[in-house]
């Protein structure tokens, strides 16, 4: 029975930690998409804990009641084939739970794959985020500026990230704003995010991409629109233009600090979408 107590302790520890003073990154959302996901996660944890508890209780009951040491020596367990009603319940309840979770899951799918709720009024800010071993390049085509390894975003607009890679498959992930999505070499994927409040967040590549993977991170800073525009203006005044030659240097394997440029690489090295995508890839 020692182990059962151990289990309970572990379960309680987890619940305390999950709800406790220092929230876990994923469960401390700062944007509508991450909020949807955190809600799903908490809901499923609660529902699943119920199932785990049912199984535990049944198991403990069986083990306590029917252990050999409690029964007479000549007790012969009966032959029981199974019972249609009992088995129907064992199928029925899980089916109901799965149906319920499916409905939740499908709704959330459509939510996280669309422009975030509450941000429909303004045009989203489009950012092309691409990886090369082991860096992140953020191109702001509208503002015509580009950064390396850091990302500034406004809080009042939805964000539309266009993801692709100059090399291995990577995954763009800012846990507090929302879940991740892959960046691949032959196509562009779109990730819809938004930040509710100013703040600094951790962003990283979550998909293993070789030697420099662990350090393949970037800083995210969300700020009010005015401040964001100020930053853009400042970059345009101070940063050097990004040349094709320089960009080809940048995407060579290695690590870099934070860099800022005017202009984007999209002009001379376009993203693999439309006529530059997939099947036409060899013709560059």
């Amino acid at each position: 029975m020692k182990r059962k107590w151990f289990f309970l302790t572990v379960v309680f520890t987890i619940i305390t930690v999950l709800t406790g003073c220092e929230p876990l990154t994923v469960l401390d959302p700062k944007g509508p998409q991450a909020q949807t996901q955190a809600n799903d996660i908490m809901l499923s944890i609660l529902l699943m804990s119920f199932i785990v508890i049912v199984v535990f209780v049944l198991l403990v009951f069986m083990l306590v009641k029917y252990r050999a040491s409690k029964q007479s020596v000549d007790y012969e367990p009966p032959h029981i084939e199974g019972n249609a009603i009992v088995e129907a319940i064992c199928v029925g309840i899980p089916v109901l739970i799965v149906v319920f979770l499916s409905i939740v899951s499908v709704q959330s799918n459509y939510k996280v794959e669309a422009r975030p709720v509450g941000y429909e009024d303004k045009k989203p800010l489009v950012v092309y985020a691409s990886t090369s071993n082991w860096k992140w390049h953020f191109s702001y085509p509208e503002e015509n500026i580009e950064t390396v390894n850091y990302l500034y975003i406004p809080t009042d607009r939805a964000l539309e990230f266009k993801l692709y890679s100059y090399g291995p498959i990577t995954s763009f992930w800012i846990p507090q704003l929302g879940g991740q999505k892959y960046a691949m070499a032959d196509m562009v994927t779109t990730l819809h995010l938004a930040a509710d409040a100013p703040g600094e967040f951790m962003g990283r590549n979550a998909n293993f991409s070789g030697k420099g993977f662990a350090e393949n991170t970037f800083n995210v800073k969300a700020m009010p629109e005015a401040k964001f525009n100020e930053w853009v203006k400042e970059v345009k005044e101070t940063a050097k233009p990004l040349t094709e030659e320089h960009f080809n240097e940048l995407i060579k394997p290695g690590h870099l600090g934070q860099l800022t440029f005017t202009g984007t690489h999209l002009d001379f090295s376009p993203a693999p979408e439309g006529e530059n995508g997939g099947h036409n890839h060899g013709s560059k």
Binding site: L24, T25, E87, C90, V91, P94, G167, R204, G210, K211
Partner: protein, 647 residues
């Protein structure tokens, strides 16, 4: 790269040189030992050339245990590296190789042979057959698997291990980003051992469909045999997909084709799709036989028949079908859109229903039983709660929107370890303890076994529960280090302590084997557990012909019925028994396959051509060979039976 540079280890370290010396010394010691004790003939006659399913099963078992320790060492190295932030124990490249081989070794070269070991040893006995349908192919299966495993295991001292993860996603695994020969090893080790597994699949389906004892209809087969049948159907349909994927990957690396490249139309996600079309069913290839073993063990030690036999069978068949319909959940984040994700999200969660049915059936098997807490039973009972935690987190991962947050994190790592450890490893340990007396004629010590069980089950939780938390806190998997400010340190330290505990548990099992060989009583009879199915109706250890007479079956628990309800198992007179001859060809052919793979890995084309001809020569030899087996006379059978009954 210069030709001979390929053979060098890409990141030499003292540990690797030490391993080289250790491997060299072990080989010398084995050769010297065999020569000194004059055991070469014995080794060749009794093991290398054997076609006996029981011996092949035991060889699978020994290989699996060796690989368990190889993979375990990798695991300890990983946990040690991550135990504290900014640790310098392993560099990035070394860590990448270690987690890659950990995954490969544990899944392909530990779990697979472990389940196949029990299929080999148990299934022909459970269905009352003399051997499998194709005994020689069975030997070939084993040796191909073994040579594949050897190929992967020499990689870290010759040329470098694969370093792109056990999933080996392209283009990371392509020539451009993975320059060492490591991924070539991956391709050929998996291809060769996969061929062996494929043959096993065909062999066991045929065996189960054609060679059951009289009276054993499909619905009267013991549950482990059912799980083997379903598993092998999955093998036959899943492994060809891996074959093709590996073929394309090999060609990309060796012949510069463009299947998964980033130029000329190549498509990296095609690999991911093909890999998981095989990879997800593979998970069920491992878990279903484990479920089979639990069914046997739980009903034996609850002293009751299995509850809900029909729904057990039905749920396995449904699981096997669904297993082919969920592969996309391994990359919900690929950007395939909400509709596709929704469909695969639902199919994924649907698997929870048949799995839940099985869990409840085991619980109801305990109901009104008379539960005895032997070591195999402890593993089976420990499995239920731990596996349930692992299983329900799987349902959570199946919710695709939330999966965007779990994907590629330690949460996922925690999930699949909490499923595979209790699901597969516990079952294998239960099976090992349960079938040990049938294999060797004595029991493993119960007291040491119980200590090992408590160490392993508690430390499974200690090791993997913290990973759920660090995953939700944003720790990505496969990171070789992390900074202190992330706050992951404490959770990884707990994991490391748990890993040490697990290591102690497995060490206890080794000690138990040693202890039991020396001290366990040998006069335990042929049915030490008071079990229910046919494999216990013959002697322990089992004579080469399995049953002197073919048993007659009336139910899924024929042996139990013969003990309690007066069912007559053996009818009629003894007859001479037809047995297959031993053959060295499977071993020789697998050795040539080993050289063939090695030559390909290092692009030594002359050797490739010679060995290819060698493989075809073996096939031609087999085609022309006339071998009708041999007969064991009635007198010989009577003598053997008398001796075994006396013992």
């Amino acid at each position: 790269m210069d030709f001979f540079d390929r053979f060098a280890v890409p990141h030499p370290s003292p540990a690797i040189y030490a391993s080289m010396v250790a491997i060299g010394l072990t080989v010398v010691a084995i050769i010297a030992g065999l020569t000194y004790f004059k055991k070469w003939g014995y080794l060749w006659r009794e093991w290398l050339t054997t076609v006996d399913h029981k011996r092949i099963g035991i060889m699978y078992l020994i290989s699996a245990l060796l690989m368990l320790f190889r993979g375990g060492v990798d695991a300890i190295m990983m946990r040690a590296q991550l135990a504290v932030p900014e640790n310098g124990l392993l560099d990035a490249q070394h860590y990448n190789e270690v987690f890659t081989t950990h995954g490969l070794v544990m899944i392909i070269f530990m779990a697979m042979p472990f389940v196949i070991a029990f299929m080999n040893f148990v299934v022909p006995l459970q269905i009352g057959a003399r051997d499998v349908a194709f005994p020689r192919l069975n030997a070939l299966s084993f040796w191909l698997f073994f040579m594949g495993a050897m190929l992967l295991n020499i990689s870290f001292v010759i040329g470098g291990s694969p370093d792109s993860g056990w999933t080996s996603y392209f283009p990371l695994a392509g020539n451009e980003f993975s320059e060492s020969v490591g991924t070539n090893y991956y391709m050929f080790a998996l291809q060769i051992s996969g061929l062996g597994t494929m043959i096993t699949g065909i062999n066991f389906i045929t065996t189960i469909l054609k060679m059951r004892a009289p009276g054993m209809t499909l619905m009267k087969m013991p549950m482990f045999t059912w799980s083997t049948l379903v598993t092998n159907v999955i093998i036959v349909f899943a492994f060809p997909v891996l074959t093709v994927a590996l073929l394309m990957g090999t060609m990309d690396r060796l012949f510069a084709t463009n299947f998964f490249t980033t130029a000329n139309g190549g498509m990296d996600m095609l690999w991911a799709n093909l890999f998981w079309v095989w990879g997800h069913p593979e998970v069920y290839i491992l878990i279903l036989p484990a479920f089979g073993i639990y069914s046997e063990v739980i009903s034996t030690f609850a002293r009751r028949n299995l509850y809900g036999y029909k729904s057990m069978v039905g749920s396995m068949v449904i699981i096997s079908l669904l297993s082919f319909l969920v592969w996309t959940h391994h990359f919900f984040t690929m950007g395939q859109g909400a509709l596709t994700n929704s469909i695969f999200s639902i199919t994924t969660m649907a698997i929870a229903v048949p799995t839940g049915v099985k869990i409840f059936n085991w619980l109801f098997t305990l109901w009104k039983g008379k539960i005895e807490f032997t070591v195999p039973m402890l593993y089976s009972i420990g499995f239920i709660p731990i596996f349930t935690i692992g299983g329900v987190t799987g349902v959570m991962l199946g919710m695709s929107a939330a999966d965007y947050q779990y994907h590629n994190t330690m949460f996922l790592v925690a999930h699949f370890h909490m499923v595979i450890l209790p699901g597969v490893v516990f079952a294998m340990l239960a099976g090992l303890t349960y079938y040990w007396p049938k294999m060797f004629g004595f029991k493993l010590n119960e007291r040491i076994g119980k200590w090992a069980f408590w160490f392993i089950s508690i430390n499974t939780l200690v090791t993997f529960m913290p990973m759920f938390i660090s995953g939700l806190d944003g720790q990505a998997r496969r990171m070789y280090t992390y900074s202190e400010s992330t706050g992951f340190g404490i959770w990884n330290m707990i994991s490391f302590i748990g890993a040490i505990g697990l290591a102690i548990g497995f060490a206890l099992i080794v000690y138990n084997v040693y202890y039991s060989i020396r001290y366990s009583p040998r006069n335990i009879g042929s049915d030490p557990w008071d079990a229910r199915s046919l494999e216990w109706a013959t002697h322990s250890p089992v004579p080469e012909y399995n049953f002197a007479q073919v048993p007659h079956v009336n139910s899924s628990e024929a042996f139990w019925d013969s003990k309690k309800n007066g069912h007559v198992l053996y009818k009629g007179e003894l007859e001479k028994i037809h047995m297959p001859n031993n053959s060295g060809m499977p071993f020789i052919m697998a050795c040539i396959f080993f050289l063939w793979g090695f030559a390909f890995i290092f692009a030594m084309w002359t050797t490739v051509i010679i060995t290819t001809i060698g493989i075809f020569a073996c096939l031609a030899h087999r085609s022309f060979e006339q071998d009708h087996g041999r007969y064991i006379s009635v007198r010989e059978i009577e003598e053997t039976e008398k001796k075994l009954r006396g013992a």
